[in-house]
Symmetry: C2
Subunit: 222 residues, 2 copies
């Protein structure tokens, strides 16, 4: 329970840490929909009004930072143009990932909870779709407005969020030793799929009966 370590040193948990502890325990024991704000406040030894002053809503106890992260992602995307789009998307993905990594054990504790309480897993899926929608909106705006370009925005946004989610999930499960390296690799894979051809780079598909070494030889001569 790392987030209350500081409070432990002071000899008492803060009301906010007590609320998080009580809520996580009650959601795991009784389910999300079945737990009321009153149940949480009572278990944490705080008043209902203290609860709402500190968290605003029941969902905010679990996901207090979604709106702030979403705003940070939008800020990064909005600071870009078509030219720097891939960099902006890669940066924005890292904003989200590194937020959770900075949370440390709290993020892993939340993951264990969302993995076992269906209603919380659903809240998380819905919030993931807000990121995807935001990425789609910006990537599409950087395109030429054709149906193919709009579709590309949709596909790329889906791939970006999937890449992020995979690295985050692996880190949460302690399957990934170096999330910085993994997100670099994952975003390189996404970018290799979606990178638009630039002036000095040609992507060509060749059908040939020659073996690949011979083809490579001739390509090297270009």
């Amino acid at each position: 329970m790392t987030q209350s370590r500081e409070d432990d040193r002071r000899g008492a948990r803060s009301p906010s840490a007590a609320i998080v502890d009580a809520a996580f325990r009650l959601f795991a024991e009784n389910g999300y929909d079945e737990t009321s704000v009153d149940d949480i406040a009572t278990a944490a030894g705080v008043s209902r009004s203290s609860f709402f002053r500190l968290f605003g809503s029941k969902e905010m106890v679990i996901f207090p930072d979604h709106d702030a992260i979403l705003a940070a992602v939008e800020e990064r995307l909005a600071a870009s143009t078509q030219k720097s789009a891939i960099l902006a998307v890669s940066d924005a993905v890292r904003v989200v990932l590194f937020h959770y990594i900075a949370e440390g054990p709290l993020a892993r504790r939340r993951y264990r909870l969302t993995s076992t309480v269906p209603a919380l897993r659903e809240r998380e899926l819905i919030s993931g779709s807000r990121y995807q929608q935001l990425f789609r909106q910006y990537i599409s705006a950087w395109g030429d407005g054709s149906e193919e370009s709009e579709r590309r925005g949709e596909l790329m946004a889906a791939a970006v969020v999937a890449a992020h989610n995979r690295v985050l999930r692996r880190w949460l499960r302690e399957e990934c030793a170096d999330p910085h390296m993994e997100i670099d690799e994952a975003m390189a894979q996404v970018n290799a799929l979606f990178a638009p051809p630039s002036g000095t780079r040609a992507v060509v598909v060749v059908r040939t009966d020659q073996d690949l070494d011979a083809v490579a030889e001739q390509l090297r001569a270009l």
Copy 2:
């Protein structure tokens, strides 16, 4: 209200059509969570037990076919191997899309409802994630088990579902005259992104100072 046309010809709506009509109206007026099965049964003039005999749950009134479509998708994917993977994925996507298109006006009516009732939009998002999970599972199983291949499965599943959703949404909004053509184009776009290199096809990236016409000339000579 096409789905009750047959009943109208018989001079009366079926209990099932009456339930759908009542539920759609109440969800739109009062919200999904705020509408009980009893409310729907009363408005439709049927008993609570008739409701459950016909629909099983409140959610099933809106999405009666999710489980059946998911099973059909899985059946198509399971009948494939790595070699025919892209075909299987393309077929499976069409299973879902053409189910909704076959529903006709009912699908559009549901779309108007899910667009305006947040809880129903969320149910749909959650069900979409089940498709994505299923595609990921099969696409990953066709890979070599490396982290890059697993990640590719994740990215491709996300792109496949995004492509499907775009075409479906355009059709539901009557922005798309020919969904058969659009899904062909969308899946071709996905496949061009993710198609693995095969024995007689080389995908090469060339950096060159020559102009593209000169490069093309030399490639044609291969």
